[in-house]
Point group: C2
Chain length 443, copies 2
């Protein structure tokens, strides 16, 4: 059957070769050995463990990430964990940088692998965690003991999610995390059964593998997958409604017409200028682009700010009676852009300025004094005045900095921003053409 052969082919492509797997596991063991002996040498009560998809044998071929956690006794003072943790972690490789999540950790290059070395508290169970990272070893443990040989099914699901654009729980994507994909496989038993179930996922669905959810915790998110190691936590908290339903749609499409392309889509072709001209001409809309230097912050900070800025701009435009057909945010690390496809971007010279209700006599009298042409409009005064911003781009230029924007995005916009019309959006930077193809749903 066609599905079988597609799955076989896909599985073959996503499973690491024996050599790759051996190499990775040997490397991880080496690192653990180094940490453990260094700890012994220094007299620290610490040992290292390997976590993450490469530890659980659910990683996708070619991925070269190793996550090593340095397990400190739970009573260790935080300051000591930080100091000793970093000291141990730095001993692995000279090629490293210090990063920071809830506390600092080391990201090193070792024998061609990206190795994250993360100090954490070795708590007795997940309800006792002192830091968010302390949960990871429990996740690891849970998957290792429950996946029961379905590792390749998890790989298929991850690759499928990747191919259809919903994989990744970082705030840029707002999609499915690797751990979430693994839990779905554990829950549904196979890739195909997950697709079958996923085709009918809906807002508010609760998946509670361990049947232990805490009824006192309300989860407002579109999909609720109760963490097997923490009854209060929704593993799918980062998943947006849009990505949930893109996954549902993808599952249905796969059921209807399975294809290898859904796992390994051809690269997105950037939209070029002639094509963009043709699109705009056909549609008759106006592309407006606000672009500015990307602030020097991680994507998980940047994207929420970009989305906030996008929302503010759209709200401002619609308050001023312009109409936005669709919008999106983009960054390539150097520049950012808010792209707006406008349905109404130019308006007549007048606008109605609504005055106070006549019932508020003092205000109403003042309004009438100020505007001799005021008229009664229902229960209020109103007056026709010259429209201050008859064009959307003028409004943006004049008022963008007064919109609610995230901190760093706001700082960047205050320094400088440019409003571009039409095809000049293509000049904002590398990768914008691919973004536009997806934004405009142009196949």
């Amino acid at each position: 059957m066609i599905t079988d052969s597609i799955l076989k082919e896909a599985a073959g492509r996503v499973k690491p070769s024996a050599a790759e797997a051996d190499n990775l596991k040997n490397t991880a063991r080496e690192i653990i050995g180094r940490i453990d002996s260094e700890a012994a040498r220094l007299g620290f009560n610490v040992h290292a463990i390997h976590v993450g998809s490469t530890a659980r044998d659910t990683w996708l071929r070619g991925k070269r990430d190793i996550d090593i956690f340095l397990m400190f006794p739970p009573e260790t003072p935080r300051e000591q964990l930080k100091l000793e943790g970093l000291q141990l972690a730095r001993s692995v490789s000279d090629d490293y940088e210090e990063k920071y999540a809830e506390h600092p950790y080391i990201s090193a290059i070792y024998k061609g692998f990206d190795v994250d070395l993360v100090p954490c508290f070795n708590v007795p169970d997940a309800s006792k965690i002192q830091s968010a990272v302390d949960r990871s070893p429990f996740h690891n443990q849970y998957v290792l003991t429950h996946i029961n040989g379905l590792n390749d099914e998890a790989r298929l699901l991850k690759q499928f999610m990747h191919g259809v654009g919903v994989y990744g729980s970082e705030l840029r994507t707002q999609g499915f995390s690797g751990y979430l994909a693994e839990l779905l496989i554990i829950r549904y038993g196979s890739f195909l059964d997950t697709v079958k179930a996923g085709a009918n996922f809906y807002r508010g669905l609760v998946i509670d593998v361990e049947d232990h959810m805490d009824p006192g915790v309300k989860h407002p998110e579109p999909l609720i997958v109760i963490d097997p190691v923490d009854p209060k936590r929704n593993v799918a908290a980062a998943l947006s409604e849009q990505k949930l339903y893109e996954f549902v749609d993808a599952c249905r499409r796969f059921q209807k017409a399975p294809s290898l392309d859904m796992f390994f889509p051809p690269p997105v072709e950037p939209v070029d200028e002639p094509e963009l001209l043709e699109i705009i001409d056909d549609r008759g809309t106006l592309l407006l682009t606000i672009t500015f230097r990307a602030p020097d912050i991680v994507e998980d900070t940047l994207y929420p700010q970009l989305r906030k800025a996008e929302e503010s701009v759209v709200r401002m435009l619609e308050l001023h009676e312009f109409k936005v057909y669709r919008s999106g945010v983009w960054s390539n690390g150097k520049r950012c852009a808010i792209v707006l496809e406008m349905l109404v971007w130019s308006l007549p010279n007048i606008e109605r300025h609504l005055g106070p209700p006549l019932e508020q006599r003092e205000h109403a009298d003042r309004f009438r004094d100020k505007y001799p042409d005021a008229y009664v409009f229902g229960y209020r005064y109103a007056v026709d005045i010259p429209r201050k911003y008859p064009r959307a781009d003028e409004l943006i230029r004049a008022r963008l900095t007064s919109c609610a924007l995230g901190k760093q995005v706001s700082e960047s916009i205050r320094q400088d921003f440019i409003v571009l019309s039409g095809t000049s959006v293509l000049s904002v930077g590398e990768g914008i053409g691919e973004f536009l193809r997806e934004l405009l749903h142009r196949k």
Copy 2:
């Protein structure tokens, strides 16, 4: 003082001369005499009375209306009242026509007066009325016994309301009735005190002269004036919020700058083509006019239908993403018009066609099959399709007859209607220029 001299001048202009008053009252007595003797001759147990503003001495100079009611015993069968009433009424003048309210009556010309001859039941009190007209003699009685010489103050108020455009409780105006004006004078004691009170009228205000309102009856109207002869009835039921506040505004303006012009405004100058061109040019809006033959119905039936049609058209336009800045309805008895000042009247070639929520799988699948370019839009499918009506006038031409319109307006529109753009609105008929000046608040 300036107000005094304005009021004196206005009072002098609105009070009928002694000769006019004598002539009218003598004529009314003559008619009553004719009816009564004819009734005696025919052996009917009926007598006539004079009601309305000419009976209450609150009519405005030059008004030549006489309302005569034919009082039948309350136990008279309706059929008998109709037959005998018309028979008596026809005896007054050969120059008459039969009209119809709740039951038939006669409108006659007699010695240059317009005489309405209305049969009614002579019930013992207003709570026993069998027909709406039976209430009029009680209104008459109430005003006669309570106005206490304030007749000329009532005349001033009526003329003021007329001058500022809020007088008349018919459904064309939705303003103040004569009886309502008289009650306000009775309540507040003078024209100036009514203006003082009126300047602070507000939605939901209850004026209950007899302090007898029935708390079981809810009045949703903007102003509630409890009928002194019927605790359940709101005398101001026909008054719209717009007219209430136009009156409030006028009272305030009069307080601030009293002027004879507010009683006797100069005639409204029609807008002519050069001025209209200039207005449209200045504002940058588009005037769209839908015009059709006026159906052969009374204004009280016509205007609610025109307003309903206006509302439907505006709703249809806004559903299709056009924007109406203001609108109004007009008729001169021959033609009707719905005039729309458009803020957005032309739109790009695409529109978003929203599909079903993905949760409704069957519908969603059918949608996706039908539209291969469908995309996920939040929790629904959507697709960009060619906009069917990129221009407001095309939409109106294609879909007006499918709007909810009143019965006779709908019939007329189904026969034929025309959509005009810009200054060609001036061609729809006599009186449109005056209407446009007021619609556009053009002084």
